[in-house]
């Protein structure tokens, strides 16, 4: 039951940033007309952000992580979220054990 001051500030800062994104859409539709170009840019943000987050792990960490990312992506085409994640975790654990990384 400890609460570090820096951790607390970081959590509050994350919460404020997240609430801003959740409220912003309501303000946007009140004041701004979203044209096709703006819509395209907004739609590209989620995959671009998520790809950026996983890229260093997927492509520049090691063969076990790259292999597991590919396995997860292939599994995601057929299986629900949790099953695909379980396969990714299983593959990375086995690959690390075999490669010794």
């Amino acid at each position: 039951m400890t609460l570090d001051l820096d951790t607390f500030l970081a959590i509050v800062a994350m919460a404020v940033a997240t609430v801003l994104t959740r409220m912003a859409g309501l303000l946007v539709i009140r004041f701004v007309a979203i044209g096709p170009q703006q819509k395209r840019a907004l739609e590209a943000i989620p995959p671009a952000v998520l790809m950026a987050v996983i890229a260093p792990t997927a492509l520049a960490t090691g063969p076990a992580e790259t292999l597991a990312t590919v396995a997860t992506a292939l599994a995601a085409m057929r299986l629900p979220l949790l099953a695909a994640v379980a396969i990714g975790v299983f593959v990375v654990a086995v690959a690390r054990a075999l490669i010794g990384a």
């Binding site: 959740r22 989620p46 671009a48 952000v49 998520l50 790809m51 987050v53 492509l59 975790v89």
Partner: protein, 233 residues
């Protein structure tokens, strides 16, 4: 009479959400466990789930967590990861005529991906009421918080998550989500630009700038391919 209507609506939303509410339990457990392995106390991990309630950005925060925590970097990455909420709230905001002004903003506090998706489905086939939305969102929120707490409390006993590959759970969740955003060749261009920029920035820049670099490159890619298509058409 009106009371019965409200509770019926609430339980209707709760029932519609039930499969997703169950599915979020293991994800919350994993979040709590990894937060514990990063040195957060059970209270801190649970507080993050209570106040932030955005799985994606909480996973990313664990990825870039430092001691002491860097609030600027964490807030910035939460902003980037959650910027999709702007589009989501803009979209569902046009489908909430049954909500008063303040109720609309209150509802947005719990606008997680899964809740947004179910609310969009409901608004497509029926009137989306505040009671139905509350039935959708509140139990899901409570389960997420409790699962985080349980995971953090158990996490201290689980040991090193890397040994059983548990540290890969977050990149795996993101990989699945990325696949869900696939809409053809344009998405391919976005992903390729984002991955290239992110790996380069990760190599040469400190902190989480690689997320901003990847996001900017991905958005630039979609605008460039769009202009190209318009020029060809």
């Amino acid at each position: 009479m009106k009371r019965v209507g409200i509770s019926q609506e609430f339980f209707g939303g709760m029932r519609a959400m039930a499969p997703l509410t169950v599915a979020v339990i293991p994800i919350g457990l994993v979040f709590g466990a990894v937060a514990a392995s990063k040195g957060l106390s059970s209270f801190e991990a649970t507080l993050m789930s209570v106040l932030v309630f955005a799985g994606g950005s909480q996973f990313v925060a664990m990825d870039i967590w430092t001691h002491p925590a860097s609030w600027g970097a964490l807030a910035f990455s939460a902003l980037l990861v959650n910027i999709r909420h702007v589009l989501m709230s803009a979209s569902i905001g046009t489908k909430m005529p049954a909500f008063s002004g303040p109720a609309k903003y209150a509802a947005m506090l719990l606008l997680a991906d899964e809740i947004w998706a179910m609310a969009e489905v409901r608004a497509g086939e029926n009137r989306l009421t505040p009671a139905w939305y509350a039935g959708l969102a509140v139990p899901f929120y409570c389960v997420w918080v409790l699962a985080s707490l349980a995971g953090a409390a158990a996490g201290a006993f689980l040991g090193d998550p890397e040994a059983i590959g548990l540290d890969f759970a977050f990149p795996a969740v993101f990989t699945v989500l990325v696949m869900g955003f696939w809409k053809g060749r344009d998405t391919g261009a976005v992903l390729a630009a984002s991955a290239t920029a992110a790996v380069l920035a990760h190599q040469f820049l400190p902190g989480v700038w690689y997320i901003a670099a990847g996001a900017a490159a991905g958005v630039a890619a979609t605008l460039v391919t769009n202009r190209h298509q318009e020029a060809c058409a």
